[in-house]
Symmetry: C2
Subunit: 217 residues, 2 copies
């Protein structure tokens, strides 16, 4: 019985995700679903990407959190349209939440919408939101075994970002082991960045623009 209900939830989610994808395709809007552990630096990365991209394309942000609006307040201060979704304990965003966020945001044509998912390296990877691009952010302070221990989120991502690269010298992070773990499960690109030292941000922004233009799911 449990499995049956889960299938229903997934089927319903996928239907709505497909609708979201169609709606956005018509307006050339690109949604980017950002997945990571709590504290991997999703919001800091968003702030840095907004700095680089804000004069190039219309931007909007959907913030997913269990509680509060700390992250949405940071984005709002930058003058970027933002919607906060509180899941009230829920461990992931789903496609229906994004459908409602789209109604609220009313994004202009060709907008890039960054969706910061709930900090969780497990559950969000099972829920298609209708995004064009899925990015998983892993940070060096989490250790180099994350791709091996949480394979699904890395497998389903279109792009992998390795964050907090400035801290690598203070940790026992094993870069070879991390890349071996990634390469064992996916051929997707890894981009290394540091938000504090602004390393790799411009390159990541360029890659995002490229993916949003040429990659069709």
């Amino acid at each position: 019985m449990e499995i049956k209900v889960m299938k229903n939830i997934m089927h319903s989610n996928n239907m709505i995700a497909a609708e979201n994808r169609e709606i956005m395709k018509d307006k050339k809007i690109s949604a980017i679903n950002i997945l990571a552990s709590p504290g991997a630096g999703k919001t800091s990365l968003l702030v840095k990407l907004i700095e680089v991209l804000r004069n190039k394309v219309p931007l909007a942000v959907v913030e997913g959190d269990i509680a509060g609006s700390i992250d949405a307040e940071k984005i709002d201060k930058l003058g970027i349209p933002v919607v906060q979704i509180n899941t009230c304990g829920g461990c992931h965003l789903d496609a229906n939440m994004i459908r409602e966020a789209l109604v609220t945001l009313k994004p202009a044509d060709e907008t890039i919408i960054f969706i910061e998912n709930v900090g969780n390296l497990v559950c969000p990877s099972s829920f298609d939101l209708g995004e064009k691009l899925r990015i998983v952010v892993s940070s060096v302070t989490e250790g180099s075994d994350k791709p091996i221990k949480y394979p699904h989120v890395f497998q389903t991502a279109d792009l992998i970002v390795l964050n907090k690269i400035d801290l690598i010298k203070h940790t026992d992070f094993d870069r070879d082991y991390f890349y071996k773990g990634v390469n064992a499960i996916t051929a997707k690109k890894v981009m290394e960045v540091s938000c504090i030292e602004s390393l790799g941000i411009e390159e990541l922004a360029e890659e995002i623009l490229k993916c949003c233009k040429i990659q069709e799911k």
Copy 2:
């Protein structure tokens, strides 16, 4: 319909958790459920605690992971009895998994069983395993806003560990903000540790011994 099924799952889990608690109480066994984000340092902390506690009490470990047995292998090398539970994509351990682990481990009377839950700051906090003590581990590299953003896991913990304190000087971690966040939702104790510099480990081991003896759920 979804909610009804969820209640059934929770009710069933809580029944088994209560049975686990009774079984362990009879043998004066203490299970410690350790919750944290991926990469917060649960396994490193376990290794350090084992060093301090192994000559004082019988120890055993249950490793919960989505995939693989990396962490269990680390514990096995120390000569401590360990069971690896692979959730195969599942985002948390449940009481039935622990019931089966107890059958496999056959722990001696007065054993302390450390249960390393799946790296996830959301879902595991809703599942009672029958533990005597619940510890949440947060690391300074995750940022100081975790108690505010993930309140349930901090509220349901008996003890809060702030790990990777050696890295605090390399981050923008705001200690006052972290403690304010904790104190706003719980009166539970926070203990600061560093596994790399072996700071606070002996004190934490003492606290665990104290809690296991005097605290009854």
